[in-house]
């Protein structure tokens, strides 16, 4: 009888560390991983196909749901693709608002990632600390767009509306004492920009707290250093982007290498790693959070001094103002036409990519001149990262699979689409 050396275990889709509905078939020899076969598609919703039957305006909401932890970053790629095709010039204030929210989104994504990474390695408290700070970021989303997650705030030609002058406040209730209520509303007295500014002041200290718990922790280092190492050449040929590529030492950040929006007017650094292991990915992301705070600060300062329009002057694409619609028949008809029939893109194709928190997030649209895309393809950053998991995990222990999977930062919403 042939002697069996290996056996398979089924990891997920209900596994606590499977990050959504990922299923891995892991071939083990003892506890050493021989190969991993990722089974994706459990969250496939056919979004790309659905968008072929929706007007361009209606499809915007789908983009929030690709990578559902960095919503506005996805929207950014989409609206940029449409604007490129329509040759619309976006007002500068709108660009700054977009960059501000793109960085808020980056923080949001990195905080969830850091929390989940800590939780997967057993550091439970980090998870809850990260969610505390993420809640403030969600409040910013809510104040600007009205939705805490699926914002649909970036529109073709700008953003949905200007930043509000007041922050919504907590209401009094029987389970909040006066003092607690005052604490909760303390930094909500001014405008949204004031709220963001108070966050910018407090957040670097919070990052220091997380670093105290993790960065120099011996267990944390032992668990992450030298785990999931990928070389520079291999990372490039595997199609890695974002922190996975930068951890190997390649300073590839679309915000610097192919500047879009107003990133060329802002000063920030691109942190790169050396070893390409899980620890470098962690260090890079911590540094990226600090850089994002710097960018946010610059945006807030600029936005305070430069009021102006937030939507482009392009009546065929941008809906008329609410006031105008109330007493102008043509504006009313225009609004109706825009939101039913939509607008048409010229015949052709376009690709636009942003530096999504997870890597390069691209949108490729083929238009046949109609008001719906002929074909739309989303280039998700997580997909090539997940595809390499077998190579990254080979020879490591079962516990390292969790570490590596977590460090990839995949979201099945964008992998499965």
């Amino acid at each position: 009888m042939a002697k069996e050396h290996s056996y398979t275990i089924n990891f997920g889709p209900q596994h606590p560390a499977a990050h959504g509905v990922l299923r891995l078939l892991i071939t083990l020899e003892g506890e050493t991983v021989q190969s991993i076969d990722p089974h994706i598609g459990l969250l496939h919703r056919g979004t790309e196909k659905l968008m072929e039957h929706k007007t361009y305006l209606q499809s915007g909401g789908y983009f929030d749901r690709f990578c559902y932890v960095s919503m506005m970053a996805n929207e950014h790629a989409y609206v940029m693709a449409l604007e490129k095709m329509l040759a619309i010039k976006v007002p500068e204030r709108a660009e700054y608002i977009r960059v501000l929210f793109a960085e808020i989104t980056r923080l949001m994504n990195h905080l969830i990632w850091l929390g989940a990474y800590g939780l997967d390695l057993g550091a439970m408290s980090v998870f809850l600390y990260c969610f505390r700070d993420r809640d403030d970021l969600l409040a910013m989303y809510e104040a600007a767009s009205g939705a805490r997650m699926h914002a649909n705030y970036f529109r073709v030609g700008g953003v949905w509306r200007d930043l509000p002058h007041t922050m919504p406040k907590y209401q009094s209730s029987s389970w909040k004492s006066k003092k607690k209520l005052a604490d909760l509303n303390a930094d909500r007295q001014g405008s949204l920009l004031d709220f963001i500014e108070s966050f910018i002041e407090r957040f670097p200290g919070r990052i220091d707290d997380y670093e105290t718990l993790l960065t120099d922790n011996r267990i944390w280092k032992q668990r992450t250093q030298g785990v999931g190492v990928v070389s520079k050449e291999r990372a490039m040929s595997l199609g890695f982007t974002g922190h996975m590529l930068r951890s190997t030492g390649v300073a590839w950040d679309l915000r610097k290498t192919q500047p879009y929006s107003v990133y060329d007017k802002l000063t920030f650094d691109v942190p790169v790693g050396v070893n390409g292991d899980c620890y470098d990915r962690y260090i890079i992301r911590i540094a990226e959070m600090r850089e994002s705070v710097k960018i946010m600060k610059q945006c807030v300062d600029w936005l305070r001094e430069h009021p102006g329009p937030i939507l482009a002057d392009a009546p065929k694409v941008v809906p008329p103002s609410r006031d105008h619609m109330k007493d102008n028949m043509e504006a009313m008809i225009h609004h109706f036409k825009l939101h039913t029939e939509g607008f048409s893109l010229p015949r052709g194709e376009v690709y636009s990519a942003v530096e999504h928190p997870k890597g390069e997030f691209g949108v490729y649209i083929v238009s046949d001149g109609a008001n719906m895309p002929y074909r739309i393809k989303v280039r998700a950053a997580g997909f090539p990262h997940l595809a390499a998991i077998s190579e990254l995990c080979k020879g490591h222990l079962l516990a390292d699979v969790v570490t590596i999977l977590s460090s990839l930062d995949i979201v099945l919403g964008e992998v499965d689409r």
Binding site: P16, A17, E31, G122, S125, L214, R223, A399, V401, V402
Partner: protein, 330 residues
């Protein structure tokens, strides 16, 4: 015979209550450490939470996995629970309160805590599940290797007390806080504490449960009251190790103010069990604190720590403490 039974109940009933409330306390303490509130719905401030948990556990269905080994599957929770309760027999709670004042007390405790690994091993094996099997294999390797370091660490205690009897070990530490074993045996105490945490399968050494990789490890297939039995055993073990640590290294039921003029007489009315409970509570808290702070070790790193760091340290300290004893320095 009847009296022994009553004495045993006098230990076990408060112990089970303590276990029940330790689960709530853990959720509360870790909750506050993590900016949460913890359970606060059942009873005043969550005081009835363990009772609600118990009702839930009792009413849940006992799931029996296909092709599991019936006898061992139902037996193994007990194999874990019984030794963890039996070990309490030799603990001296105060000057006169000790159920079994046997000479080989320390050895008995050692035997009982080691027996628990059978429960873990058989639970994983009998469940017929790969995750449970991996968990129990890890746990066994861990318990066996940490037992060695722990044993060596305790040799120091035995040397200093000239006895294996726990009551005598306590008496040997009489004379105030500086006479307790933690000071001359400080590296041994640290080694012992790390081993003890590993022995009870608690964070950061909970690789046998390994929540994020093995889901729940050896008890992944258990439900209802069988699952609860594992938990009672784990928490009883935690409390036991805390009490045991206080007894061996922190003077057991002795007053910390002994030997200090005036203060020691002011506190002379306090019964020894209060001191013991106070010292043990600190170690229980330490368990929870560690759980809220540290990431989990990887299985091979855990073994490396045990064999390459802890065993050499404790081995090196034994000749040192023997020499000190020989020349009468301690």
């Amino acid at each position: 015979m009847l009296m022994i039974f009553i004495y045993a109940l006098c230990i076990l009933i408060p112990l089970v209550v303590a276990v029940a409330y330790l689960t709530t306390l853990e959720r509360k303490i870790i909750g506050y450490m993590q900016l949460r509130v913890g359970p606060n719905r059942v009873g005043f401030g969550g005081m009835l939470q363990p009772i609600a948990d118990a009702i839930k556990f009792v009413t849940k269905e006992l799931v029996y996995p296909e092709h599991a080994d019936g006898l061992l599957y139902y037996l193994s929770p007990l194999l874990l629970l019984v030794p963890s309760l039996t070990a309490w027999a030799v603990i001296p709670f105060s000057e006169s309160w000790v159920l079994a004042d046997i000479d080989a007390g320390l050895l008995f405790v050692f035997a009982m805590t080691s027996l628990g690994s059978y429960g873990v091993l058989l639970a994983g094996w009998a469940s017929n599940s790969k995750y449970a099997m991996l968990g129990s294999m890890r746990s066994c390797a861990q318990i066996i290797s940490y037992e060695i370091a722990m044993g060596f660490a305790l040799v120091g205690v035995i040397l200093l007390a000239d006895s294996l009897n726990l009551q005598k070990i306590v008496y040997a530490q009489a004379g105030g806080i500086l006479h307790w074993n933690w000071l001359p045996l400080f590296p041994m105490f640290i080694v012992y504490w790390i081993c003890a945490v590993a022995e009870t399968n608690r964070a950061p050494f909970d690789v046998a449960e390994g929540e994020s990789e093995l889901v729940a490890g050896f008890h992944v297939e258990y439900s209802g009251m069988l699952f609860a039995t594992f938990f009672i055993a784990e928490y009883a073990n935690m409390i036991f190790i805390s009490v045991f640590t206080s007894t061996l290294f922190f003077g057991g039921w002795l007053s910390p103010f002994e030997g200090i003029p005036y203060i020691s007489t002011w506190f002379s009315w306090v019964p020894g069990i209060i001191w013991l409970a106070g010292k043990s509570s600190f170690f229980v808290f330490l368990y929870l604190w560690m759980r809220a702070t540290f990431p989990r070790y990887r299985y091979d790193q855990l073994m490396m720590l045990g064999w390459k760091t802890l065993i050499p340290i404790s081995l090196a300290w034994i000749p040192f403490i023997s020499a000190m004893k020989l020349w009468g320095w301690v």
